[in-house]
């Protein structure tokens, strides 16, 4: 079996989880295996949706003790489920929870782990992964020697594909005992927009923005075209009040949106490392020699303070982003 740990939000499967589950289904079809989707929480209402993404079996661990995420409790649950089901592959999306729990479960299982992968296949009955290393400056093909193989899938890379599965629901017992650590509180950022790592469209600003307040024009463009705003390290470190969670690059977030619009960003190697996996790159820069243009599918040489508002205006006029 290929077991996929899935996360729910507001009673719905999170998109990165649906992507991981869909990829699990493809791998299972290629290797004649079954797919199990695993959910855990105080309530798993909504888990039935996993059948739409090809789950043969839906495993639910429902208990008041699982209301808050606990690394060790969830890792125990996953490892026990792998053993109980005789699963050979354990997957999850490379989200904050996925990246926290899968390596811990892997260690419990003595399993190799490939994180944040952008490609998966089954070769001779074993998982094989392709993953960016050096923040995307290179790709490593990873093969496994362990009996159980584990991986987390990078959001926005694998398509979430609907394919009916039997979706037989089975209850799992929650792990007993004291949990070593528990999440006590969630501090949500204002706005509640999707995270950069999961965004389909990103509008990023660099030192060329000149001031944090000017990021307002990027917000306006992002709102018009259904995107979120990121930044270069120069902008984050400039003392403009931008949080590090906005930083794109080798020491920030590595992103893979469909569209990345770089405004007033020169294209330093550390920035490029974090965004070169974007499908389409647009550069807006007043310096025609800026290295970012070498990467861009579309370049605009000009003053971003003129171009960005025009883009917002035109996007609204064309009704872009309203679909």
């Amino acid at each position: 079996m290929i077991l996929v740990f899935c996360e729910l939000k507001d009673g719905q499967i999170r998109k990165p989880s649906a992507e991981a589950l869909s990829e699990g289904r493809r791998l299972a079809d290629a290797s004649g295996k079954k797919v199990g989707a695993l959910f855990a929480g105080a309530s798993c209402a909504g888990a039935a949706e996993a059948a739409k993404f090809g789950a043969d079996v839906i495993l639910t661990a429902e208990a008041p003790t699982l209301a808050s995420y606990s690394s060790d409790a969830f890792a125990t649950l996953l490892a026990e489920a792998v053993k109980a089901k005789g699963a050979s592959v354990l997957l999850a999306a490379a989200t904050a929870v996925g990246k926290d729990v899968i390596p811990r479960a892997a260690a419990r299982l003595g399993a190799g782990y490939a994180s944040d992968v952008t490609g998966l296949s089954m070769v001779d009955g074993k998982l094989q992964a392709v993953r960016p290393v050096y923040a995307g400056k290179a790709f490593a093909t990873t093969t496994f020697s362990s009996a159980v193989q584990t991986a987390t899938t990078r959001p926005n890379v694998f398509p979430a594909a609907e394919k009916a599965g039997a979706g037989t629901v089975e209850a799992l017992a929650a792990p007993a005992g004291d949990f070593k650590s528990v999440v006590k509180e969630i501090l949500a950022k204002a706005g509640g927009k999707v995270d950069l790592s999961e965004a389909n469209v990103i509008v990023s600003g660099g030192r060329g923005m000149k001031d944090g307040a000017n990021f307002k024009i990027l917000e306006e463009l992002a709102d018009a075209i259904g995107g979120v705003v990121g930044a270069s390290r120069a902008a984050v470190d400039a003392g403009w009040g931008l949080p590090h969670s906005m930083q794109v690059g080798q020491t920030g977030k590595v992103v893979s949106p469909t569209l990345y619009i770089a405004c007033g960003i020169s294209g330093a190697i550390q920035h490029i490392a974090g965004m070169s996996g974007s499908k389409f790159i647009v550069a807006i820069n007043k310096d025609p020699e800026a290295p970012i243009f070498k990467l861009a599918n579309y370049g605009i040489v000009g003053d971003l303070f003129e171009v960005v508002p025009e883009l917002t205006k035109a996007a609204k006029a064309m009704g872009i982003g309203s679909n």
């Binding site: 926290d100 811990r104 969630i186 920030g252 590595v254 070169s276 389409f280 000009g302």
Partner: protein
């Protein structure tokens, strides 16, 4: 309180990646080596705890002789002792976790600080694997850490914000930018470090779970084009191209 800090030596962020003749590793020619940036936050946090409530700080690296540079720097910054677990540096994160777990097992560490990911390998896995092997609590991608009596409270970065994790010590905490501002080594620290020795031990024999079988460079991006006209014209042309050619919208 006894603190272990795991520090990895990695290629500098400026490194342009060249694949070695074996087709699966980095060509080390011209590579400048540094301490993985996130590990610097881990070390700084340990030193601040030492300065605040008192602690013994042990810096540890798994690697070859060159990794001594990382440890010398850690001693100069304020680590009390340094340990090099000598290995070929070829294992996966699981192998490194097993080596460090074997070393740390019976030494009574209350806190183990790591980077949230090693620059380059980018696995973000060693910390949680080590926590599991030692049977202790973990908190990853931490931007704020408070210690109580045998407990910790950590703020960690998650999608769309952060969350507060509470747990018992001992624990493995992996550091994220924002946890603190790492200091630079003082001349006094550098001189003092010269007198200290680095303990060298053979790393335990372990088995990896995963192996890199090929390292490849990303495909060249297709040549792009510049959009002509004034700002309004460029904006119009861009959106049209994204719609019609790229089909983004």
């Amino acid at each position: 309180m006894k603190i272990l800090v795991a520090l990895k030596q990695v290629p500098d962020t400026e490194t342009r990646i060249k694949v070695a003749a074996d087709g699966k590793s980095l060509d080390p020619a011209d590579v400048k080596w540094i301490t993985s940036p996130y590990d610097e936050y881990a070390l700084e946090e340990a030193i601040r705890i030492k300065e605040g409530k008192g602690a013994e700080v042990v810096a540890l690296s798994v690697g070859g002789d060159t990794a001594k540079e990382v440890l010398k720097n850690a001693l100069a910054l304020g680590a009390d002792t340094a340990v090099l677990l000598k290995g070929d540096g070829q294992g996966d994160a699981f192998a490194v976790a097993q080596m460090i777990a074997t070393y740390a097992k019976d030494k009574g560490f209350d806190l183990i600080l790591c980077g949230n990911k090693g620059l380059g390998g980018d696995n973000a896995a060693m910390g949680p694997m080590l926590a599991e092997l030692l049977g202790v609590a973990q908190a990853n991608v931490v931007v704020k850490l408070e210690l109580g009596e045998g407990t910790f409270k950590a703020e960690r970065e998650v999608e769309g914000g952060s969350e507060i994790v509470e747990g018992a010590l001992p624990a493995v905490i992996t550091a994220q930018k924002g946890l603190n501002e790492p200091r630079y080594a003082s001349l006094k620290g550098i001189m003092a470090a010269k007198k200290k020795t680095i303990e060298e031990l053979d790393a335990a024999a372990v088995t990896s779970g995963a192996h890199v079988s090929a390292l490849t460079l990303p495909p060249e991006r297709p040549a792009g084009r510049l959009l002509p006209g004034d700002a309004a014209g460029q904006a119009q042309a861009l959106l049209q191209a994204l719609k019609d050619e790229a089909k983004v919208f």
